[in-house]
Subunit: 320 residues, 2 copies
Amino acid sequence: MDKQYVIGVDMGGTNSAFGIVNARGEILHRGEIKTNIYKTAEEYVKALSDGINTMIKSSGLEGHIKGIGMGVPDGNMYKGTIEHAANIPWANKSIIPLAKMVSESTGLFCCLTNDANAAAIGEMAYGSARGMKDFIVITLGTGVGSGIVCNGKLVCGHDGFAGELGHVIIRRYNGRPCGCGRNGCLETYTSATGVARTAREFLETRSDDSLLRAIDDRPVTSKDVSEAAEKGDKIAKEIFEYTGKILGEAFADFITFSSPEAIILFGGLTKAGDLIMKPIEKSMKENLLTMYKDKTKLIFSELPDADAAILGASALVWEK
Amino acid sequence: MDKQYVIGVDMGGTNSAFGIVNARGEILHRGEIKTNIYKTAEEYVKALSDGINTMIKSSGLEGHIKGIGMGVPDGNMYKGTIEHAANIPWANKSIIPLAKMVSESTGLFCCLTNDANAAAIGEMAYGSARGMKDFIVITLGTGVGSGIVCNGKLVCGHDGFAGELGHVIIRRYNGRPCGCGRNGCLETYTSATGVARTAREFLETRSDDSLLRAIDDRPVTSKDVSEAAEKGDKIAKEIFEYTGKILGEAFADFITFSSPEAIILFGGLTKAGDLIMKPIEKSMKENLLTMYKDKTKLIFSELPDADAAILGASALVWEK
C-alpha cells in the first residue's frame, strides 16, 4: 500500500479540527484540540502533534500518510508561517514557522495556507472545480475571503498574500468603514456581518412592515434575514437583492482580471440559495463587459459544509 | 548553430512591423507591410509571409528561426485566432485562425496573443520583469491594456481573454461613458484619451489661467498636457495628479487580487515620468491594505518604445 492518505487540519480561532482523508475526499478518522488555550506556539504544536499521532495510531494507517496540510488564519503558503493572526493569543504578535514546527514534531511533511486558499484547493481536488484550471472561490462568512486559481495553480503573489478580494473597494464614496481601517471594502457589504449591517440600515431608514422588526431583544443576523426572506418577507428579500447586486458588480470586475471558468461560492451565506444567487446573476449580467457575458459559471461549493475546511487543507498535500 | 532566433510581428491597425530577434532581445533584421489594405485574411497572410520570407532570406538565418510570435489586436492565445477586431477590415466580422494560416504559409511555428499580453511576455524575457514570476504590465496608450503574469505564466483565463483591466469600473456613479457601452471604466480616465478628456473638463469647469488655454485651433491632447506640466503649468500638473490618483486606486485593488512583485507601466503616458509616477505612488500608499504596503514596485518599462511590441511578440515563441 502506497502513501495514499493525507491529513487536513482546520485551524480556527477556537478549535483545530483534523482528519485523515483518502484520495476520494472522504474523512476516515477525526480528532480535535483547542486552538486558543495555549500560551506559546510550542504548546499548541505539542498538543496538535499528540492529537494527530493518536489519530494515526488508532487508524492503523501509520506509514501510509503522505503529509499534513493546514488551513490557517493569516497563513503564508510560501514560508509556512502564521503571521500576526489577530484572534490567536500565541500568534498575534509574531511570525511563527508553524509548518516547520509541526513537521519536526510529527515527522511528517507539513504545509499550510490560509482558509480561503485551502477551500480553493479543496474544490479543485474533491469539489465543484474538479477539472478546472481557472476559477475563483469566494467565501461568504463572517468576512469575505477568496482563493484564486489561474493556469491550474493557486495565485499567491510574490509574497504569499494574494487573493484578499474581500478588501477590494466596491463603494469608493461614503463606503462603510471596514475593520482594515479603510472604507467601502466588499466584505463590509457582503459578509454575514455585512448583511446584518444592511438589515439594520434598511430597518432604520424604512417604515414598512417586516418580520425582522419582531426581533427586538438582540441584533438581527444574516440567518434571521435568510429565514424571513424564505417566508416571503419583502425587506428581507430586498436585503439579499442589495447584497447580490454588490457581489455581482465585484464579480464582473474579478472576471475582467482572470476570466475564470467559474466563481464558486462557499460559506454561511450560500445557505440562502436562490435568494442570493439570482440577484448576483442579474447584477453580473448588467455589469459584465460584453466579451465575458454568459461565459463564467456561478455555482455553489459542493464540499460538505462541516468538512470542507479539513478537506481543503488536506488537498494541499496532494498539490505539493 | 541551433534555432536561436525568433520573429516578432507587431500587428497594428495600419502597419504590421516585424523583425528577427536574438535571445538578448536585439532586433537584427526588420520588415513592414500594411495591415488594412487587404480585403481578405488570405491576402494579408500572403503579404505577411512574403515579407517575412524575404527578411529571412536576406538575413542568411534560414533554418535557424524557432518560430513567429504575433501581437494582435483581439488575439486569442489559446486558439491562435483574431476575433472581431474592430479596426481591421478583413477581420472585423469573424474569427480567423491567423496563427494556423501564417504557420502553413511560412512553414514556421506561429503563435499569437493580444498586444498587452505580448508586452508582459516581452518584459519577462528582455525587460523590467526579468526574473519575476508575479507582475502586471499596464499599457497606457489610446486605451488602457494589461498583461498579467502569476506563477511565471501569463493569465489568459478559461477563454483566452483575461486581463482587460482597462475595463475595471473605477467610478461606479456618474462614471464617464466608455466605448464598451458601460460607464466608469479605468481607461476613460487614464488612457491618453482619458487624460485629454480630463483636460477638457478641467479647462471648462475652472477659470484659472493655463498654457493649455492657448491651444484653441484643435482639441488638447495628453502630449500637450505633458508639455505644459513640464513647464510648471498648474492645471496641467493637476490633470496628472487626478490621473495618477485614479490609477493608484485601481492598482491598490489589483494588488489585492494577485499581489504582484511589480506593476510595470508602458506606453505613451509614461513619457510624463515623475509627473504621473509620483501621484500614482501617493495614491497607492493611501489606498493599499496595510499588508500590501511598500511591497509592490511601481516601475516603467525598460523596453525601447519603438521596438517593444516586436520584442514582446517575439518573446512568445521562447515561452512556448
